[in-house]
Symmetry: C2
């Protein structure tokens, strides 16, 4: 069956959460948001395009930072309201310069950093 971005379920703002995972290592890099056009553009270009909620604009990952996300495969979940993007990440996914945005953990009730700068 041909895939149509309109078959996904978007929230009241027209957005769906997208998890980016490094295809080679399985590391979860970030969670960001897409609208239907961002989904279509990501599939067409083979480069990940999000929707920036803060800037209210398309955000083609890497255009300013050089930290491109090349799409390896797009998956979607049973409820059709979440995406999993298998990617090849150039450089850091996180704007802090870390490889992953998920660099803080809770251990024994304390916050700890799992990836130093």
């Amino acid at each position: 069956m041909a895939f149509d971005p309109a078959r996904l379920r978007y929230n009241a703002d027209g957005l769906i959460p997208a998890i980016a995972q490094e295809a080679e290592t399985g590391e979860v890099l970030m969670l960001a948001w897409m609208n239907a056009e961002a989904v279509a553009r990501t599939l067409a270009e083979g480069r990940v395009v999000y929707w920036s909620r803060s800037r209210q604009a398309f955000w083609r990952k890497g255009d300013t930072s050089g930290h491109v996300q090349e799409l390896v495969e797009m998956r979607f979940d049973c409820d059709e309201d979440a995406l999993l993007l298998l990617v090849r990440q150039t450089g850091a996914a996180c704007h802090t310069g870390r490889r992953t945005c998920f660099y803080r953990a809770v251990r024994d009730g304390e916050e700890v950093e799992t990836e130093a700068l």
Copy 2:
């Protein structure tokens, strides 16, 4: 620094998205939602507790299905508005009986199943 669930950023409904990832294999299993109390209960119990948006109730994963998620580690992202849960999943994470909820992919514009029932 001691971790307080109130330091996270929740959406207008008081919820934050939580990605569950199998700690051993790195497989992304599902995305669901938590409120601050679900975060606190998950940390206190060492078992993952979500907030069910459809049922508007706490949802301690596995209570009815037996498909428990044991928490290995909770992480949070740079913007403090997304969680990554490293878990040990008993049985299937997905209500369809599949190991992961992300069992459909888009390949060459077509929907394909990546995990059969």
